[in-house]
């Protein structure tokens, strides 16, 4: 309006120029915005998990020389009284001259995978040089080529690995993963509330325990234990949909009738302490740690029919360029005395032969602890849930989540 009203032709010309400049600035901004959003969308697309090449990403260069970034689970290494520093880690840093950035960043295999898989698929640094993941998740990483190859000859201590862990179906010869700790899935109860104790998974369904039972949201432990109870060995290749659904039906029925109060991840420990749960399907090391803090209130047992065995595995992501240093760290933790020190704190099964002898020096009271140094008899009662195919994993995960209502 002002433009038309202006009587001066020069001024009119000037304003027209300003107008066109403004227009082009706007257009430019618009183009910039469009380009930016397209790029962002493209990044989201690949990051969100569209088809990645099956050949797998190339070896990475991520990280900083002299520094190792290690992602582990909470309370999964020896800690000093300050609950922050780890004596073994401190000793390793001193002897190797490396800096270890230790973080308790993993509290769930799936969530951790969900957070880093986009970068893994694109070959971008995920921010860690060492990760600690459970068998089935480790299998997924190895299968997709997300792990660096480890030079076992540079890690002489790793020949100490227990024979039953030296070869696993997803990583024959252990060139991509090495066990950090193992543990049992079994049943546990509060001694005062369940004086008679429990012998089988079916005992959890006793009427007097109604509403005070909790089971794990980890499908392989909860379903694995129910399968054992039904006479099916979850480690064998012979079971299929029928056996899985039979076990799932038991879980569904016990949730529906209120026997199972809730299906929990790690937080079942808090419910045991608060008394909301008096009998659970849980993990061996957890119950041991709870007992230290709560005057031996609880008992853990492997059910008569059998229990699950799982391991968490150290792996170097393909995106990390610090493989050599990571190998040094793994090698260090396969030293029997170091392994015994860690086991004395975390109370899980150590994968290192000779750690039992070393434990005599570290803490003699733990030498005969079946849950840290299981005997052949105990090991014969437990089995690893077999590795599922991709289709099975999708199907069973969906069915399990549906049953637990999430």
């Amino acid at each position: 309006m002002t433009r038309n009203a202006s009587p001066d032709p020069v001024l009119r010309e000037l304003m027209a120029r300003a107008g066109s400049a403004g227009l082009s600035r706007r257009t430019f901004l618009g183009l910039l915005g469009a380009a930016g959003s397209a790029a962002a969308l493209a990044a989201c697309g690949t990051g969100g998990g569209t088809a990645a090449s099956s050949s797998g990403p190339a070896a990475g260069t991520g990280g900083k020389a002299g520094t190792l970034r290690w992602a582990n689970w909470t309370l999964y290494i020896d800690l000093a009284d300050d609950h922050v520093t780890s004596p073994t880690l401190k000793a390793f840093q001193k002897s190797s001259g490396l800096t270890v950035e230790y973080s308790e960043d993993i509290d769930d295999n799936d969530s951790f995978y969900g957070k880093v898989k986009g970068q893994l698929a694109n070959g971008q640094d995920i921010g860690y040089d060492l990760v600690t993941l459970t068998d089935w998740m480790a299998a997924r990483w190895v299968r997709q080529g997300y792990t660096a190859t480890l030079d076992r000859s540079a890690m002489p201590n790793t020949s100490n690995i227990l024979p039953n862990l030296a070869n696993v179906d997803y990583d024959p010869g252990r060139t991509h993963s090495l066990t950090w700790q193992s543990g049992f899935g079994g049943i546990a109860w509060a001694k005062d509330a369940v004086p008679g104790g429990l012998a089988t998974v079916s005992d959890l369904w006793k009427p007097e325990l109604k509403g005070r039972v909790e089971v794990l949201s980890e499908m392989r432990d909860t379903i694995g234990l129910i399968m054992f109870d039904q006479g099916v060995n979850p480690a064998s290749d012979s079971w299929g949909d029928t056996e899985f659904e039979n076990a799932l039906d038991v879980l569904k029925a016990q949730i529906a009738n209120g026997q199972i109060r809730s299906v929990k991840g790690n937080s079942y420990k808090e419910d045991l302490v608060s008394g909301d749960a008096v009998a659970v399907i849980g993990w061996s090391g957890d119950i041991q740690q709870l007992n230290f803090e709560n005057d031996d209130k609880f008992t853990f047992a492997i059910p008569e029919a059998g229990g699950t065995l799982w391991s968490d595995n150290l792996m170097v992501p393909i995106t990390s360029g610090q493989v050599t240093d990571a190998q040094k760290l793994i090698d260090y933790y396969y030293d029997p005395e170091v392994a015994a020190t860690v086991a004395a704190y975390v109370n899980y099964i150590t994968p290192v032969q000779g750690a039992k002898q070393a434990m005599e020096k570290v803490d003699p009271t733990l030498v005969d602890n079946e849950l840290i140094f299981p005997s052949e008899a105990t090991l014969s009662k437990v089995a690893m849930f077999r590795t599922l195919t991709t289709d099975e994993e999708t199907k069973y995960n969906n069915q399990f989540l549906d049953a637990i209502g999430a």
Binding site: T2, A5, M15, A51, G114, A406
Partner: protein
């Protein structure tokens, strides 16, 4: 402004200045627009696109390819409508409870404590104080308070409000209580802000005109506080409907699962991005519709 423009048109000189000033105002929007584009429009676009993806045939877990598979919405809704409905019911109950508890609180702080600024400040700090601790920690603390062996259950059993084997955690009651507790300040503060401006002489006038306190409240106080009430209900209802912390910490996963929990599980547990995205879109659309209807009914010109 139009007066200025008219003056400018006569003089010739100020006109371009005027124009430049208008453009400058528009540029002030740029940071906000860029921010919204990058962090809202693009993600929502990605979300919409992902909700229509299909799995790569024979691909790895969590691998999807672009498609226009509208069936994802049908599947997601037919499987998860109970959780969706439950989320809105829980959020609605929590909102009403927040209003019932929060309105009197805000009234006392804004009207009764008026003139005593120290008391007023202290009460407001008490309302906000819970925010000094983490949301998660506060919710976990409630789990301890409401535990079977805890004081609340023991007291309720003693007075026979709960049967001897009754419990509070892992029930819908606990989840709604958690939502009410966690979002209460979002109700109190906007209502307080409205009531704070309430002129006490209006209440006196009501009394002078022989209106009972109830009538005065109904015809004077309540309508004047309505903008705060509308703002508060929105601030409580919207986050409560999508909340998953309370339902996963205080609930028992089957009878109390809310939609946020389902989206979380779909996204992280089974890497089912299309279903998780479809549910997110449905949740957003449902909230938008409910809120639009509510705001239209409540008439919130005063809010703006």
């Amino acid at each position: 402004m139009s007066l200025l423009a008219g003056l400018g048109a006569g003089g010739g000189g100020p006109a371009p200045k005027e124009r430049a000033r208008g453009a400058g105002h528009r540029w002030l929007l740029a940071p906000g627009l860029v921010y919204l584009t990058v962090f809202f429009i693009v993600p929502v676009g990605a979300l919409l696109a992902t909700s229509l993806y299909v799995p790569v045939p024979g691909g790895e877990l969590g691998q999807y390819q672009p498609a226009l598979h509208w069936q994802n919405y049908v599947d997601a809704l037919s499987q998860f409508w109970p959780q969706l409905v439950r989320s809105f019911v829980f959020a609605a109950i929590a909102t009403l409870a927040c209003l019932a508890i929060g309105y009197p609180m805000a009234y006392v702080i804004a009207v009764r404590a008026r003139g005593r600024s120290l008391l007023q400040g202290l009460l407001l700090v008490l309302v906000i104080a819970p925010f000094f601790t983490s949301f998660i920690l506060r919710t976990i603390a409630w789990k301890q308070i409401l535990a079977d062996e805890g004081p609340v259950v023991a007291a309720l059993r003693f007075v026979h409000l709960l049967p001897p084997d009754g419990r509070l955690t892992a029930t819908a009651f606990a989840v709604v209580c958690g939502l009410t507790y966690n979002f209460l300040p979002f109700m109190v503060l906007p209502v307080y802000a409205s009531l704070e401006r309430l002129d006490p002489r209006m209440l006196e006038a009501g009394a002078d005109l022989y209106a009972s306190p109830v009538t005065t409240f109904r015809t004077v106080t309540w309508p004047l506080s309505l903008p705060g009430v509308v703002g508060g209900t929105l601030l409580v209802f919207i986050p409560a409907a999508g909340d998953y912390v309370n339902s996963s910490l205080l609930g028992n996963n089957t009878n109390t699962a809310m939609i946020g929990q389902v989206i979380d599980a779909r996204f992280f547990k089974v890497l089912d991005y299309p279903t998780a995205s479809a549910l997110s879109v449905v949740l957003m659309a449902a909230i938008l519709l409910l809120v639009a209807g509510y705001v239209r009914r409540a008439g919130t010109e005063d809010l703006l």
